[in-house]
C-alpha cells in the first residue's frame, strides 16, 4: 500500500457511502483512502485548509464559508440525493393522521397547533422534533415548508442531530412529529404525505425516482480546485455505476439516470 493517500473528512451522513465506496475502490487501486467523520463544517474547513483531499458535506457551502475560503476555489460534486419526509410516531399514524398540509406542518412548528386533534388525530399534545440548525435535512425541509431554510420554529420541543437520533426520539414518543431521511423509516416511525395546493405528495421511493418528490437534498463532495489523479478517479468511481449502486444501498438516491437503478 505504497500508493497515494486520499484523506476524506466530513459529514456523517455521507460517510456510509464513502466508507463502502472506498472499500470497493481500494480493491482495484493502489491508493489508500482514509475516511473520517467530523461533520460538514470540519469537512469544508479541512479541504480549504489543505488538510483533506475531499470534504464530505450534506449541505452546500454557506455564503460565509464561500467568503472565508474564497482563495481555495472550493468545488462541489454531488454524488447522491437524500429525500426527507415529514414523519410522525406510528401511534399517530395509526390513529389516522396519514397526511398533513404544508400549512398544518408550519403551524405545528410555529407552535400555533399544539394538539394532534387539531389536525385530525387523537387528543394528545404534539412533541415537535426539530433538527440542529445547520443540518442539511432541516435546510431542505424548512425551505419547502416555509420557503426559508433557516426558519425559526418556536413550537419545537426537542432538537436532534443525526438521523438515528431523530429516529429514536420519534420512535420513543407516541405523539411526535419530525423530519427524517427516507431510509430511516420503520414500523415506529411513519412518513405522512404532504398536501400542497391540493396535490398530495406521497413519500415513496417511486415518487423520488420519478423526480416528483420535492424535499430532497444533495450529498456533496467538496474539493479545492479541480480534482486530479486518484482523487478524481475516486470521485468518478462514486459517481459511476458501482458507486451509485452503493449510494442506493446506503439508503440514498443515486444521481444521474434514476430510471436505471432499482431502489430498495
Amino acid at each position: 500500500d505504497t500508493g497515494p493517500r486520499i484523506q476524506i473528512v466530513g459529514s456523517t451522513t455521507v460517510l456510509p457511502v464513502v466508507s463502502r465506496s472506498a472499500q470497493k475502490f481500494m480493491e482495484s487501486s493502489s491508493s489508500r483512502i482514509l475516511v473520517n467523520a467530523g461533520g460538514s463544517g470540519v469537512g469544508i474547513h479541512s479541504v480549504a485548509g489543505g488538510r483533506a483531499d475531499i470534504g464530505m458535506a450534506s449541505r452546500g457551502i454557506s455564503p460565509d464559508e464561500n467568503k472565508r475560503f474564497e482563495k481555495s476555489y472550493l468545488i462541489v460534486h454531488s454524488v447522491g440525493l437524500d429525500a426527507v419526509a415529514c414523519v410522525v410516531s406510528s401511534e399517530i399514524f395509526q390513529a389516522g393522521v396519514r397526511r398533513l398540509t404544508a400549512r398544518q406542518i408550519a403551524g405545528i412548528y410555529l407552535g400555533e397547533i399544539r394538539n394532534w386533534k387539531e389536525v385530525g388525530g387523537p387528543n394528545r399534545k404534539i412533541v415537535v422534533v426539530d433538527k440542529e440548525r445547520h443540518r442539511g435535512t432541516r435546510h431542505v425541509f424548512m425551505q419547502y415548508i416555509f420557503g426559508n431554510a433557516s426558519q425559526r420554529t418556536p413550537g419545537t420541543l426537542l432538537v436532534t442531530g443525526s438521523n438515528n437520533e431523530e429516529q429514536a426520539k420519534i420512535a420513543q414518543s407516541d405523539s411526535a412529529i419530525g423530519m427524517l431521511s427516507f431510509n430511516w423509516m420503520n414500523d415506529d416511525v411513519k412518513a405522512v404525505s404532504i398536501l400542497d395546493q391540493g396535490k398530495e405528495i406521497l413519500p415513496t421511493w417511486e415518487a423520488v425516482r420519478q423526480g416528483s418528490y420535492p424535499i430532497v437534498r444533495k450529498l456533496n463532495f467538496i474539493t479545492a480546485g479541480q480534482p486530479k489523479g486518484e482523487i478524481k478517479a475516486f470521485i468518478d468511481f462514486v459517481k459511476g455505476p458501482e458507486g451509485q449502486k452503493i449510494v442506493a444501498e446506503s439508503g440514498y438516491i443515486p444521481i444521474g439516470n434514476p430510471k436505471s437503478k432499482r431502489l430498495n
Partner: protein, 278 residues
C-alpha cells in the same frame, strides 16, 4: 436504635448502587452480545459495520489510551509532587489546584477543537494518533492529578518527618515513602484517567482517528480507527439493525478493554501494595 437504622439504610444504599451498576453491565451485555460472532474481536470492520468485527478499532483505542496515560502520568505525578512537596502552601499552590479543577470541567469537545486548531491548523501535524494521545493526555491530566494529590496529601505527616530525621533527601523521601505509601491512590487515578480517555470521542475525532482506511498505524503521523468513533458514527448514521448491533458490540468491547486494563492494574497494585504493606 438510630445507629442500626442508619447502618441498614446506608447498607441498602450501597447495595442499590452496586445493583444499579451491575444492571448497567447486564444491559450492555444484552445489547452487545448479538454482535458477538466468532470473528468480532479479530476481524476488520466491513461494509459500514454490517459485517466483520472491531479488531483494529480495539487496537487503536488501546494505543490511544495507553499512550495518553504514558504522557499524562509523569506530568501529573511531577506536578503534584512539586505542588505538595516543594511548594509552600500559598497563593500559587491554591491557584494550581484550582486550575486542575477548571481543566477537569472543560468540555472534551473544546480540547478536540482547540487541539484541531493548534495541531491541525497552526502546527499542521495532520491527523495522527500522536496528536490525539497528546490531547487526551491533557484531558485526563486533572483526573490523575486530583487522585494523586489526594493520595499524597492523605499521607500522615509523621512518616515524612521520620524520613526527614533519617536524613533522606527529598527525592529519596518521595521515592521510598511517598510513592509507595500513596501507590494505591495513584493507581486509582490511572483507572479513572484511562476511563476518561476511553470515553472520549469528541476530543479525538478531528485530530487522531479515522473511520476506515487505516488498520494499524505505520508511522507517528498515521491516524488510528478507534472504538469510540466507530460507535459514534454507527450509532448516528447506520440505518440497518446489523450495524446498530455492531455499535453496541463495539461498546461492549470498549467496556471490556477498560475492564481488562483495570484488572491488570489491579493485580499489579495488589502486589505492590502488599510489598509496601500499606
Amino acid at each position: 436504635m438510630a445507629e442500626k437504622m442508619v447502618r441498614v439504610l446506608i447498607g441498602c444504599i450501597t447495595f442499590l448502587i452496586v445493583a444499579l451498576l451491575f444492571s448497567i453491565l447486564g444491559v450492555m451485555l444484552l445489547k452487545g452480545l448479538p454482535a458477538m460472532h466468532a470473528g468480532f474481536l479479530f476481524e476488520e470492520s466491513r461494509d459500514f459495520g454490517r459485517a466483520g468485527g472491531v479488531y483494529y478499532q480495539s487496537i487503536g483505542t488501546l494505543i490511544l489510551m495507553g499512550v495518553a496515560v504514558l504522557w499524562s502520568l509523569p506530568v501529573a505525578l511531577g506536578s503534584v509532587l512539586f505542588q505538595t512537596e516543594y511548594l509552600d502552601t500559598g497563593k500559587l499552590k491554591t491557584f494550581l489546584t484550582q486550575l486542575t479543577y477548571i481543566l477537569n470541567a472543560t468540555p472534551t469537545i473544546l480540547f478536540g477543537l482547540v487541539g484541531y486548531l493548534l495541531f491541525g491548523v497552526y502546527l499542521d501535524t495532520g491527523v495522527s494518533w500522536v496528536t490525539g494521545s497528546l490531547i487526551l493526555a491533557v484531558m485526563i491530566l486533572p483526573t490523575l492529578q486530583v487522585s494523586i494529590r489526594e493520595a499524597v496529601e492523605a499521607l500522615p505527616e509523621k512518616y515524612r518527618e521520620a524520613g526527614m530525621a533519617l536524613g533522606l533527601s527529598r527525592p529519596t523521601q518521595i521515592w521510598r515513602i511517598i510513592l509507595p505509601q500513596s501507590f494505591y491512590g495513584i493507581v486509582t487515578g490511572v483507572f479513572l484517567g484511562l476511563a476518561r480517555a476511553a470515553g472520549e470521542t469528541a476530543a479525538i475525532m478531528f485530530t487522531a482517528t479515522t473511520f476506515s482506511g487505516i488498520q494499524f498505524p505505520q508511522s507517528f503521523s498515521d491516524p488510528v480507527p478507534t472504538l469510540q468513533t466507530h460507535i459514534l458514527v454507527l450509532a448516528q448514521e447506520a440505518s440497518n439493525p446489523e450495524s446498530i448491533a455492531q455499535a453496541w458490540g463495539a461498546g461492549l468491547v470498549l467496556l471490556g478493554l477498560v475492564f481488562l486494563l483495570t484488572l491488570t492494574a489491579w493485580a499489579f497494585r495488589a502486589r505492590v501494595v502488599m510489598e509496601s504493606e500499606l
